[in-house]
Amino acid sequence: MKSLKFFGLGSVMALLLLSGCKPKGTETAVTGDAAERVYVAPGKYDEFYNFVSGGFNGQVNVYGLPSGRLLKVLPVFSVNPENGYGYSEETKPMLQTSHGFIPWDDQHHLSLSQTNGEVDGRWLFANANNTPRVARLDLKTFKTVEILEIPNSAGNHSSPFLTENTEYVVAGTRFAVPMDDENGDVPIESFKSNFKGVLSFIGIDKQSGDMDLSFQIEAPGINFDLSHAGKKKSGDWFFFSCYNSEKANTLLEVNASQNDKDFIMAVNWKKAAELVKAGKGRKVVTEYAHNKFDESTHTATSTMKKEVIVLSVEDMKDAMFMIPCPKSPHGCDIDPTGEYIVGSGKLAALIPVFSFDKMIKAIADKNFAGEFDGVKVIKYEAALHGEVQKPGLGPLHTEFDGKGNAYTSMFVSSEVVKWNIKDLKVLDRQPTFYSVGHLMIPGGDSAKPFGKYLVAYNKITKDRYLPTGPELAQSAQLYDISGDKMKLLLDYPTFGEPHYAQALPAEMLKDQVKFFRIEDNKHPYATKGEAESKVVREGNKVHVYMTSIRSHFAPDNIEGIRVGDEVLFHVTNLEQDWDIPHGFAIKGAENAELLIMPGETCTLKWIPKKPGMYPMYCTDFCSALHQEMQGYVRVSPAGSNTPLIYSLNNKKDNAQSPVKAGETK
C-alpha cells in the first residue's frame, strides 16, 4: 500500500518535472485579441481550407481557417443519406470491396498531392483503416473519385502518405497478417512464423491521378504505425514507424512495450520500383477492388483485381533498413529540408531526431547493430542527430513551420511543444484541451509550410462546449504560431474522431467546378432536355428518364407501375447554374434520397411493396416554387394491366390533360 502511494506521488512529480511547470488554466491560455484574429466578417472568406479526417464516421470534414467554420462533410468511405453517396446506383460501386459492400470505415489520415514537395491543390488522399482502402478526392469537385482496396493488409494505418511528386501513395499495414495466398486459418500461436507486415506502394498517374497498386513489400510481421516520405535529398526514401518488435500477440499493452527500442524502417522506394521493373518479386494471387468514379458519366465502376507483385525482405536487402527508435514510435515526420527524421516514442520521455546524412553514411560504412528478420539494423547512435530532452509526456506527432522549428503533440501531458530542430532546445509549450493526438500546420509536412497557424486535434473535450449527454463533440484548437510564443485563438468542434488533417491556402482551390456542363454528360441514362423525358419498361424493370429544373420534374406523374417492379429513376438536373442542386425522394424508398448537381445524372432504385399513390418531391429548397416541385407514382398490384403512362409538364393542368404512353422494350 505504501509503495503504491509512493508510486503515485512519484509519477505526479515526474509529470511536473517533465512538463516544466504546472499547465496553465483555460482562462489564461487565450490572449486578448484572439477573437479578432479568427473573426472572418460576413461575406469574407477564410484564408485556408482545412481537411479534417472524420475518424470512425468515415468521412472528411472541410473547415475554414482561421474561423473554424464547418464548410462541408465529404463522404468517402461511408454512405451519406444527405446526397445519396453509396445509395445511388452510380455511387454504390465506390464502396465495393473483396468482402462485399462496406458502407463505413475508420478514416484516419489525409494527404494533399504535392509537386516538388509542396502542396499543389490537385487531389486529397484518404485512408480507410478497417477494411484497407485508399481514396482519392478531386479538389476541383470535392468528390471522391477513386477507391483502391489494399490486399495482404489489415488496419491500413500508415497511410496515405505521399512521395514529394505524388509518384506513390503508401499503405502500410498496422496488423501483421498471413499473406492472402496462404491459409489464414492458422493458430494465433503461429504468429511469428505465419504473419507478415506488408507495405503497399500505389503508383499515381501524373495527369489523371489514377491509382494502381504497383508493388508490395513483404516486411517482417511487426505493426506499422505511421510514415512519411523523405523530401529533396531524402526524396527517394520512405520512413515507417514500427511497434511490437516483440511480435507479441496477446496483451500488447504490456507485451509489446518490453523492448526499449522499436524501429523506424527506411525504404528506398525508387530502388524497390527498379527491382520490380527488373522482374523481382513474386506474383501473389489475391483479390482487391478498384473503384473509379468517371466524372463524365457521373458513374462509378468497380473492378476486381486478382494479382499483386510482392518483394521479399531478401529482394530488398540493399534498399530497406531499420533504425532503432525508443519505445513504440508513433509519428514519423520529416522536416522541410528532408534532413531530419523525427520519431516519437509514445512511451518515451524524449524525442529522437535522426539525420538522413548520418543514416546514409552508416549504411555506406556498414555501421550495423545486427539484423531483424533479415533487415539490417543501423546502430542507433550512428543515425542519431540528437534527442530532445524532457519535451513532455507522450510525444505523438510533429509538424514544422518552415523556420527551423518543430511542434510536437504530447498526448499524456496534453500540450503542444515547440522546439528547435538543430539544437533540439524546447522553445515554448502550450496546453491543449485535452489529450491532443495529431496536430497540423498548413503545409506542415511538406517542403513549404505556411507557418501561420497550428491546429491541435484533441481526443477529449470535457468542459469545452455545452454538454450533449455522455457523448461530447470532438474538438480542434487553433493556435497562432507566427510569433515566438504560440497563442491559443480558437476551439471548434469536429465530427468523428479527427485524426490527421491537411490544409492549404484557399487561393490554391479557386478553379473549382461550379456545375457540370450538360453537353459533357455521358451518363448512359442522361436526359438532356425535357423533350427527351420518358418512361421505359423492360420486363419488371422500369427506367424513368427524368429531368429536374426549377421548379418541376418531367415526368411529374407516372402510372402503370406494379408491385415488385424495379423502378430506376435516372434524374438529370438540367440547371446550368452554380449552386442549384435538386433533390429527389419518393415515399417508402429504402435507400436514401438523391441530391443531383447541375448537369449531373443520378439514379435511385425503388421497389414498391404495396399498391397505392406514392408522392415524389424535390428535397432541396431550390426556388420560390420548390414546394410545388412534386409528382405521383401510381402503383398497381402485381400482374395488373394499368397502362404505363406519364404526364410531361401539362400546363393548365387538369385530370383529363393529355399524357404520353410509356414505351415497352
Partner: protein, 196 residues
C-alpha cells in the same frame, strides 16, 4: 469647286471611323447585366451584331417565374441585318474619304444618325415586348408590374437590379456618330472661314 472637297484630317478621320465600324462587327454592342441577392456574381448577357452570348439561358430559366418569353438568338431578324448595316456604314465612310466630297459626308452623317435612332428604337421596342408581353399563367404575377429593362442605365425589377449599357461596339457607334457630326460641323464652317 475646291470648297466642296474635304480636309485631309477629315478624310483620315473617316477612314478611322470606317475601321472602327469594321471592329464593331466582331465585338459585343450592348450589355445587359442583372444582379440579385442570390446572384451576387451577377448574370450578364451580351448583344453582338449577329448573336447573343452570356448567361441568357439562366436568365430564361429565371424569367419563367414572371412569364417572360425565353430569349433565343434565332428569334431576332436584327441579327441578319445588323452586320450588313454596320458593314455598309464602314464602306460608306471609306467611300466618302475616297470621293472627297462634303455632300457625301453629310449624307453619311444623316444616314448613320437615322440608323442609330432606329437601332435604339428597335432595341427599346424589343425590350418593351419582353417586359410587357407576359404569360397570364405565370406563377408570379405582381399587379401593375412590367419588366422592361432600361435602354441605358439602371432599373430595379423586383428582386433584380437591371443594368443596360453599350459595350465596345455600342461605344464605337456612339463615337462614330459623334466624330461624323464634328467633322460635318467643321467642314460646314470651313468655307465661311475662308471668306473671312
Amino acid at each position: 469647286m475646291k470648297n466642296n472637297s474635304l480636309k485631309k484630317i477629315t478624310r483620315i478621320a473617316l477612314v478611322f471611323c470606317g475601321c472602327a465600324l469594321v471592329v464593331s462587327l466582331f465585338v459585343p454592342l450592348w450589355s445587359i447585366y442583372l444582379t440579385a441577392p442570390q446572384y451576387p456574381e451577377g448574370l450578364a448577357m451580351y448583344l453582338w451584331p449577329n448573336k447573343i452570348t452570356g448567361e441568357y439561358e439562366i436568365i430564361n430559366g429565371l424569367n419563367h417565374y414572371i412569364g417572360m418569353k425565353t430569349i433565343h438568338p434565332d428569334d431576332f431578324w436584327e441579327f441578319k441585318v445588323l452586320p450588313y448595316a454596320l458593314g455598309f456604314f464602314a464602306f460608306l465612310c471609306f467611300l466618302t474619304a475616297f470621293l472627297n466630297r462634303k455632300i457625301w459626308l453629310y449624307l453619311t452623317l444623316v444616314l448613320f444618325l437615322i440608323f442609330g435612332v432606329a437601332f435604339m428604337v428597335d432595341f427599346w421596342l424589343w425590350e418593351y415586348d419582353y417586359g410587357h408581353n407576359l404569360d397570364p399563367t405565370a406563377p408570379i404575377i405582381v399587379p401593375g408590374m412590367s419588366y422592361q429593362p432600361p435602354l441605358i442605365g439602371f432599373k430595379q425589377l423586383l428582386n433584380f437590379g437591371a443594368y443596360s449599357y453599350p459595350n465596345i461596339g455600342g461605344g464605337i457607334m456612339f463615337g462614330v456618330a459623334l466624330i461624323l457630326a464634328i467633322l460635318a460641323f467643321i467642314e460646314y464652317r470651313k468655307p465661311k472661314q475662308s471668306e473671312l
